[in-house]
């Protein structure tokens, strides 16, 4: 990170202000801490620091990764539409959990491949297996219509040992997800291609 974004002390601001004064006899005392001129500059430097600190913090808050300010986090949430029908909670979550929600939503922008979807699941602490309808060796028993044939490649079958269900193979469908599983499935439903059927086992 460039020096200009580092937080500076009042003394550093005082010295910087002094450096802009001429090195002549009139301003000779500018670098002496006991001089009236230095003290005067130091008094003003506190106000310079107030503003400079805010600029530096703004730089950090412009990235969700380094955001540490409630006002900016609220703007981040509002920008990505949180709360919504997937990320419903904000009040009961910690600051870091709220940041992670924004990050998850940003990560979900532009998901293209099955690996992208798996990475998204990892962000929520889940490891998932994703297969297309064509790859499923035995019929997914909850597919009532055209599971085999031309439509099969447009079916995604999502499973995970992290999911809180007990059956295997998936005889206990419909699977009822909870917590982060529910959130992940809602997220997958929203990012999957519109012509694709998602089945969770």
């Amino acid at each position: 990170m460039k020096d200009e974004f580092n937080i500076k002390t009042v003394q550093e601001h005082t010295i910087i202000a002094a450096s802009f004064l001429p090195n002549d006899n009139l301003h000779f005392a500018k670098n002496y801490a006991n001089s009236d001129l230095y003290k005067f500059l130091k008094g003003m430097a506190k106000s310079f620091k107030d503003l400079d600190d805010l600029f530096s913090k703004d730089w950090n808050n412009m990235s969700i990764l380094t955001c540490d300010n409630e006002e900016f986090l609220s703007l981040w949430e509002s920008s990505v539409g949180i709360p919504d029908n997937i990320f419903k909670q904000t009040n009961s979550l910690s600051f870091e959990q709220r940041k992670n929600q924004v990050l998850t939503k940003l990560t979900s922008l532009g998901v293209l491949t099955l690996e992208d979807m798996k990475a998204l699941a990892n962000l929520l602490g889940l490891t998932v297996t994703i297969k297309t309808g064509e790859e499923v060796a035995y019929p997914p028993y909850d597919v009532p219509f055209i599971p085999i044939g031309e439509g099969a490649k447009f079916i995604l079958v999502i499973s995970s040992k992290d999911f809180n269900d007990t059956g295997y193979p998936p005889y206990d469908v419909p699977f009822t997800p909870t917590g982060s599983e529910s959130l992940l499935i809602d997220l997958f439903q929203s990012i999957k291609p519109a012509n694709t059927l998602l089945i969770v086992t």
């Binding site: 003290k39 005067f40 503003l51 805010l54 703004d58 703007l75 309808g133 055209i146 519109a194 012509n195």
Partner: protein, 512 residues
Amino acid sequence: MAEFNTPDSRLDIYNKMQADVSIETDGEALKVDSVKTMLGAISARLYDLYRKRLNINKQSFLPTCDDEYLSVHGEPYQITLNPATPSEGYVVFGGSNGATISASSPIQSATGLIFTTQTDGTIALQQVTPASISRSGTLVTVSFSTPHNLASGFTIDSITGCTPDDFNITNQVITVNAATSIQFNKAGTQGNASGTIIVQWKSALIKVQSSTAGIATNLNHGTLLKLSEAIVDVNTNCYVDYSGLSNGTDVEDAVSYRQRIKDRMANPVAYFNNAFIESECKKVSGITRVQIFNPTTTTAQITISSITRYDNVAIATSNSHGLLDNTTIIVSGANPVAYNLQTKLIVLDTNRFAYKVAGTPANPTGTIIASFSYVQPGQVRIGILRDDDASIIPSSTEVEKVKNKLLEKLPSNMDNTDLLVFSPTAVPQNFTFSYLYPNTTAMKTAISNSLDNYFRSKNKIGVNDKLASLKAVIENTFDPTGKKPDFTLSFPTQDNSIGLNQISTLGTITYP
């Protein structure tokens, strides 16, 4: 402190700076007036920088940015302000048989709107046998088996061959009441006419487009237009055809533009997911709502009342089947079993569809069922609406525009035919009030506006409107004096019934 820890005023900064300098210099520095003056100037500039920082932070986020900065947030997503668009449609010209109207011929409305013809056209003699002619009171209705391509206000040459002969006319101005029907007033015998009837007129139907853009360029059917420059053997007066001139839209307003960007940022856009499709559809000016139907495991069934085979094509009849082209169906229950297939179909009309069969089996009997998933894996169905237009139902041209927009981005593994863009069929919802208090013009206007707003925002394709919801719209209406209505509805009395490809629209409101 205001937003982003911004001091409320220059004075706040000055006071703090003065206090800091006083502490550091034991008050000595402030004994010099010029020092205080200088602190005032510096604090003023600091305040300016605070304000600039506040502005930068506000403009950096969509929820707080000013309208003029919206493009900064939209353009990275290729979301730009939708421009105004011209209206287009067809105009009926009359004149002598064989007279030609060139492309780019200007015509204008009474309000000064200019339109130009998009193609050449030739006035041709039409001699058509109508399906029926009947009279009720003085109103004569002439029905045709195919669209007549006429317009209200147009003058037909004659109707001949009618018995009784009081149905025959010459040079009659008509009103178009349907794409296949015209009307005019002439007293005479009640009931139907018979005979070898010929309806004759000379016309050319030519596509036109407005020279300027905007919603004001949309015109209702039957609107009188005039040729700006005379054309030999072509009547000066011409008329907007039954479909009207549509597609004209105003430049998008900031509220709509901000919402589209917000939708794009708030809804995770992956390749060809719902959010992506909605965003692309709304890039077509005038499209305000998009309803997307994804593949489902829901299986629907319809009963086929009959199947008639022509060569290797089976024509199935099922009233109001609601199917779309390329829907895959499973036909069962037919005898011979050669008709029992899993196949894609082609829609012929609202009551008939066709699919291929092998060989030449006899027409089938039995209780024949077609099963289908409303949207099958691999397909997506997209309903579009134009809530800012007089009719929220997009025309076929508008549907085509949206489909072409989406085809530009169609995934390579998706077939064009699996992209099903449609405009829903309107199902007008009428209202009859048996009691209303206060029964004032202001209250009636307020209720009409509330209902109009409902049918331009809350209704959904394929979803019934709850009677309770409709009543709630009325109940929550306020007239300009702040009064809510006390009312009784004699119609509707129950939830309406909206089919798969239908949407409710506001019909007629009858007040007591």
